[in-house]
Amino acid sequence: MDLFNLTANQLLTMISSGQISAADVLSSVRVRQQAVGQKTNAFIRTYDETGNGAAFPVPIGIKDNICVKGREVTCASKILKGFRPPYDAAVVEKIKASGGIVLGSLNMDEFAFGSSTESSSYGIVRNPWDLGCVPGGSSGGSAAAVAAGEAVWAIGSDTGGSIRQPASFCGVVGLKPTYGRVSRYGLIAFGSSLDQIGPITKDTTDCARLLGILAGFDHRDSTSVDLPVPDYTKSLDRHVRGLRVGIPKEYFIDGIQPSVLAAVQAAIDFYKKEGALICEISLPHTEYAVATYYIVATAEASSNLARFDGVEYGLRAVPSRPRKAGIVDMYEETRAKGFGNEAKRRIMLGTYVLSAGYYDAYYLRAQKARTLIKNDLDKAFLDCDVILSPTAPTTAFRIGEKTNDPLSMYLSDIFTIPANLAGIPAISLPCGFDEKNLPIGLQLMAAPFAEERLLAAAFAYEQAHGWHVQRAKL
């Protein structure tokens, strides 16, 4: 039996009944990783931890922007090369405490800047369903590793869709929790007011289980919310009868791939058939979401990335011939050499929108637009329980297809960005395949801290369809 193809839930059942051992799981996943790792390039580095005989020894992959004590963490950037943090991220502490075995660090877009995992300085990641396609991004390594069976499950981070869009492209489940639900302590920040860590798993049951491990209050993160963590797996037996499903008319625009539209329409029909109440809703400020996001996220990023300056850790470079005062030369050369093109673009944009004379026109205006976008969603959740849409307008695109057109890349996040701007939870789950047999993703959003509702709705759909048991042939 190919254990690497099973979910954590299945494996744990088998381990507890004595059919297999934790070591069998670990070895199956490692063999798989060695077999297909070169094809996907999902992992940047792997570790040979064996676990400590704990009760919950599920091998997990960690996105390379989350700190593991003593392990190199680089955000897939040259500028952090060699940096080994002296501490564990809050989620890593929780994973370790639950007995999880950290398999290694997963590839990503440099500093999570991207939607295709083509901007990694460790090489592009390939989609297990079609190696000529991108896995999405920025958590492309996490989604590809789970889809390929190189990890039983993984964690990613989501600033504008970086968990959900790759989950959609790779045919797995990805959930961005409510802002504040999971501690950001130890997550190398991109857009601090938008970032959340979340699970990427083979199905919603695993998603519920992993979320339960990750979530919870942390006094080291001032934006962490002190609310009890429910047993999310208990929410999975709910029916959808009476569930109010909102369909935002602004999301069903020209440019959505017809097969994506058809699959999402079929999902709507399913919910209707099961007794859910389908209601059309309006999120009138949707068209401003991408513009708002690119101002807020890059502004925060430009500041968050200022610490990568060659002083303490990571890369340091000096020009061969001096240009400015010594230390300034060191800063400028280090950052010029250390950051890739997309990181530089975002740093420049973020610096520009905060600079003297432009703050009000760009940053402040974007923060106000953010209020309007959030208000739209708050209002919508008075009339519906979940909002349903495609996760992305298309299925996975070809490698290189959008690398020369940053704006079109940014626009591929149009459906995922609003959840980050509003801080609400959202899940992406497989809802079919297109004509090229590439996975299609369905997104559900809910009000803050209504993760249980999301999981229940997703579980009902998933169990009735079975897309989640299909595996990429590698």
Partner: protein, 94 residues
């Protein structure tokens, strides 16, 4: 309009060394993006409060209690260069 000088100024604020060719690229790129985000000017934001935190949280404190620090060895374990218990950097001229 984004000019070469603007790009040089922003690059300098960002502590990024850029050459002439890169400068031209950034002029184009910033123009494209700024042109796109200009759609926000259509919005009526009069009386709208800015959102810098999505959660309405306030007053998150910690008590004035000492917690363990790193040892000097740990603190310098990831240093690019160190000397006599300090991080070492190229000379800063005052």
């Amino acid at each position: 309009m984004i000019t070469k000088e603007t790009v040089n100024y922003i690059a300098s604020l960002s502590r990024l060394h850029i050459d002439e060719a890169e400068n031209a690229g950034f002029v184009r790129n910033l123009e494209d993006i700024l042109q796109y985000v200009a759609k926000l000017n259509k919005l009526d934001v009069a009386g709208v409060l800015p959102t810098s935190h999505v959660l309405k949280m306030e007053n998150v404190f910690r008590d004035d209690k000492v917690s363990p620090s790193l040892t000097q060895q740990e603190a310098l374990s990831f240093a690019i260069e160190s000397h006599a218990g300090h991080y070492k950097v190229p000379k800063v001229i005052e």
